[in-house]
Symmetry: C2
Subunit: 169 residues, 2 copies
């Protein structure tokens, strides 16, 4: 048994861990990419958005009186997910990286969709408004990734089939 507030606060902690993981994934992916400038530029743009989202989220967390020390517990669960995603996707390869990025954006879309309901139920309407704003940015990044995936795939396949051409990053 848990109150609306208890579940909401748990999920706020999860969302914070998720945005930390997003920052780390985006940093690594953008850093590695050499031959896919358009993808890299969009990832760097979303990295800035992600850092801003963290600050928005921290404001909501502070307003809800959640202490910083309890934020760390949520991290450990998510790190396993992020590592598995990275490992499974062999992150040295641009297509799998682009797929991993797209999937992680949809993970964020789903978490904020639930968080909006939880915030409304807990009476934090200002928080729900913040999450709606963030959700739009996650959805836009996910849509961009989907729309550009055929192009990234095609570029990878062409580079991969050409002699003496680095295709993976």
């Amino acid at each position: 048994m848990a109150t609306y507030i208890e579940n909401y606060h748990d999920w706020l902690r999860d969302a914070h861990a998720m945005e930390k993981q997003a920052e780390s994934m985006l940093e690594k992916m953008a850093e590695r990419l050499e031959h896919y400038p358009e993808l890299r530029a969009r990832l760097l743009q979303h990295l800035e958005e992600t850092r801003h989202q963290q600050r928005l989220l921290e404001d909501v967390i502070e307003r809800n009186g959640i202490s910083h020390s309890t934020l760390k517990d949520a991290m450990s669960k998510l790190i396993a997910f992020g590592q598995a995603m990275g490992g499974m996707m062999t992150p040295d390869e641009v297509v799998k990286g682009a797929i991993a990025g797209y999937v992680f954006e949809h993970f964020e879309v789903a978490c904020y969709t639930s968080l909006i309901t939880a915030a409304e139920q807990a009476g934090d309407h200002a928080g729900a408004e913040v999450f709606r704003t963030i959700l739009k940015e996650e959805q836009a990044m996910a849509d961009w990734a989907r729309d550009h995936l055929p192009q990234v795939t095609q570029q990878f396949l062409q580079r991969s089939a050409a002699p003496d051409t680095e295709a993976k990053k």
Copy 2:
């Protein structure tokens, strides 16, 4: 360096492993659910679709002359991802399960999007047609999961706040 065909065949193996993982996730989720009949019914419907997709995929794999023994190698990579997704999402809880399901559907959406491009580049237009059909089913399942996530979240929160009521499954 790899030819169009080599990359295409690698990704066909990955897709097969993915559908096996999807089947296993859907089976477990549907089996556990007790108090969310609408979600359970949709998962069971998609389980049937998933089994049919496996058969379609196996036809494409056979037409491409890929042996069954090499299909097993691709499995190991994906199992780690599926396990991490399950572990991270604490699958005994319906909201995290619904999020995990939604995320996995988008993983499939992205993989088939790339696979369509790879099939076309490799000259397997009949294969690309099969993947377009499957992609539509994955997208429909993902859309359903997103549209019903607020409702599942609300039901969970209400059951969770009520005394003597099982909320998690």
